[in-house]
Symmetry: C2
Subunit: 452 residues, 2 copies
């Protein structure tokens, strides 16, 4: 083990440089304009996997490619599949970044860039851990590294891919290398994440925009109608007001809920990460409960008419909203889509046309936190961070978590090394510089522990 | 008079070319990026006025310049001041234009371009009428042409300008050469227009955008709060729900309302100009009443988070709305601003910060439709169009109308030659080609009638 740590210490500067290189790729999966950037990122990863000593392939899918790296010991050794993703969110709004999103910049002990936390640092640390273990003859298990290029658009092609290659990808443990620790110095293991149902709503009144003076007061306004619809989605207690929305919600066992009461969730620190936003939500639940085990609905964007500098007296012809529900077991995104559609039909004011489209759907996921992968990872984390990890859930969505559990019939765990307040999906995203090394070390220890 | 008409027939092709030239200037007054385009437009107009035989000046203001052209007969002759504006609205959304907004294009009997109807064709026809009358020795009155460059941003500098030069601009009649006819073949004289109070509302929850998975359900959403505010602004009868909003509303005399019942306002034609939008508004009023004598409130734009292609799971930090009230006598925009501010304070949900800013305010205007200017113009229009004009009001706003009446103590009338459905402030704005000549002829006849 000492030799591996020495190798890690020696190669760390190169891996940092490689991380910076990876962060410069504009691998924005949602925007077709960046498709070739995503492709080049995948090819770069294949090259790095090969140099690390793994058998690497760039597997085409219906969309952006899946990158695979593989080290095989033999049938008797256990197999660990590690998942991460190399695509990123769009960087907008650009003017709120202190330094350009695709020019990685170190300030203090943080590395800033789009994708730094979500998920490129974690891609590099998995790659580096495999390289370090191989180079020092310390990789006693079968390892499959699977890097996806479509996580930020709901993984439309990964499930068919995993299904088609289920035999090749057969594993005893699945680690999803994404997400973050509970707090600085407090690593965590995640056993549950929320699902997602993402919608686009368009309200239209006519064929084209109008001069507001000539029509104001005599035709419906699509932004009014959209506001009526959005306002109807919550009641005064912060609950989602869509009929039937909570029908299938299942809480975790009381043991977990009691454990969480001892967590000392730091509301003030959380609030600071939220840009000092107020902490408000569904009445009767704590902040971690609202995030981890309660469903919620948020508007992700709205647009209509003119919102640039100055005044434009236009009466817009259409208004658009993007909104999404975070779902918990055992809600089903297809059923939520039906419920939302029926609700909108009921509340839409007269004289406007509404289109509701589901852009993404991912089921919620919850694992058994007593599986062997969880205990091995707990020991690995404790040996690096000096404290045992806490068992938590997470408010975000990893579409592939429930799918891996289902398709590979293996326990799934999520372990990430970003920190709260990392500004994932927002301007000034960052990753703690020292967690690159800590993550690499945790992984090399985990390989050994899984072989025991 | 025959000589003047002959001159007009001969020079019409050149004036058409000059109109196309004027339409190519991007004189977008609201966007500082186009300030030099606005300046160049003013200089071009000074040159054309001089060539037409008028004494021309480009008068600097605190913003975009005022262009003045003047012909003086003597103290005994009456003075007509004609106002028009050479600035235009922004052309967005660009992808809805069939041909580029600043490349004037003839299709059928219409000329398409940003500013074609509002107000550049009317600028050219006033210029051409003065030229034709002067060239044929048929301008028996004092004439002042005043072309503004800030109409589309609420004329912030024109009132100080007119006040400062009130003695120089002293007139017996004021004609505002903007707006449109009642219907094709039915000219109209406008004696009332609505005022405007234009607001920007910003809702903010924190310092920066958030990852919706990590915060959804635990912090307020600014787009929800904005929707709550917007939805609260109307009741179920389509009335503005701001307390006190209707307190000062004064209807015109019953004579006018009766006249309008005979107008045969063509609802279907109006609906077609509105891109086939439904005709809906305040309960208990007809469409022309809703437009001409009832106040109204419309959202002109909203923006928050991500509204581009695909899905982005962002929880936005702020949401913005532009909204405006059209006001009727004797509402006051400053009082409406107070009422709106108090309303928003009352309905804003907890946990968000709201800023309300008034970007523009213009008082409503109503004139006496029996003034001599109205009867002279009625005769001029009838001699060109073959039918007498109808007396109507208009839903739009010309900030300078009430100001001219007040500062110059002269009767004000609005007469325009665009047609309903001209797409003012919207994509594919157009002006009827033959109205250039008809407008020029109407003006040359009006000069003569005012001298009688």
């Amino acid at each position: 083990m000492l030799a591996t740590d020495e190798y890690i210490a020696r190669e760390l500067p190169r891996w940092r440089a490689e991380l910076a290189e990876l962060l410069r790729f504009r691998s924005i999966s949602t925007d077709p304009a960046f498709a070739s950037d995503v492709q080049r990122t995948a090819e770069w990863l294949v090259d790095r996997l090969e140099r690390a000593g793994l058998a690497a392939t760039c597997a085409e899918t219906g969309g952006h490619p899946v990158v695979l790296g593989r080290h095989t010991v033999g049938r008797d050794a256990p197999t660990l599949l590690v998942y991460a993703h190399y695509d990123v969110q769009p960087p907008e709004p650009l003017d709120e970044w202190q330094t350009p999103p695709f020019e990685p910049t170190v300030r203090g002990d943080r590395l800033y860039a789009r994708g730094a936390a979500d998920d490129k640092a974690q891609v590099i640390l998995q790659l580096a851990a495999a390289e370090a273990a191989l180079a020092t003859d310390s990789l006693p298990i079968n390892l499959i590294l699977l890097f996806e290029g479509e996580e930020e658009i709901g993984s439309p092609n990964l499930v068919p891919f995993v299904r088609m290659h289920a035999r090749d990808l057969k594993s005893d443990h699945v680690l999803i290398a994404d997400s973050m620790m509970f707090a600085p110095g407090r690593p965590s293991l995640i056993f549950g994440m929320r699902g997602l149902a993402y919608f686009e709503i368009e309200v239209r009144i006519g064929a084209h925009d109008l001069h507001s003076g000539q029509y104001c007061g005599a035709v419906p306004n699509p932004a009014h109608a959209l506001a009526t619809i959005i306002d109807s989605l919550h009641d005064a207690n912060g609950r989602v007001a869509i009929e039937g929305f909570y029908d299938d919600v299942e809480l975790p066992g009381p043991g977990i809920l009691e454990e969480w009461r001892e967590l000392n969730f730091d509301e003030r620190a959380f609030q600071m990460t939220a840009g000092d936003a107020a902490l408000l939500g569904e009445a009767g639940f704590s902040t971690p409960e609202r995030l981890w085990i309660r469903p919620a609905l948020d508007v992700n964007g709205i647009a209509s008419g003119y919102a640039g500098p100055g005044a434009k007296t236009v009466l817009p012809a259409r208004a658009l909203a993007k909104l999404s529900c975070r779902l918990v077991p055992k809600q089903d995104f297809a059923r939520v889509q039906q419920l939302l559609g029926a609700h909108i039909e009921r509340v839409t004011p007269p004289g406007v046309h509404v289109r509701v489209e589901c852009l993404q759907g991912s089921q919620p996921w919850r694992a058994d936190p007593s599986a062997p992968l969880f205990s091995a990872a707990a020991r690995a984390l404790e040996s690096v961070f000096g404290v045992p990890p806490v068992r938590v859930a997470h408010g975000g969505t990893l579409p592939i978590a429930p799918e891996f559990a289902d398709l590979l019939q293996a326990p799934v765990m999520v372990m990430g090394f970003a920190l709260p307040g990392a500004n994932m999906h927002a301007p000034n995203e960052w990753f703690p510089l020292d967690h690159l090394e800590k993550g690499i070390k945790t992984m090399t220890r985990l390989y050994t522990m899984l072989a025991q």
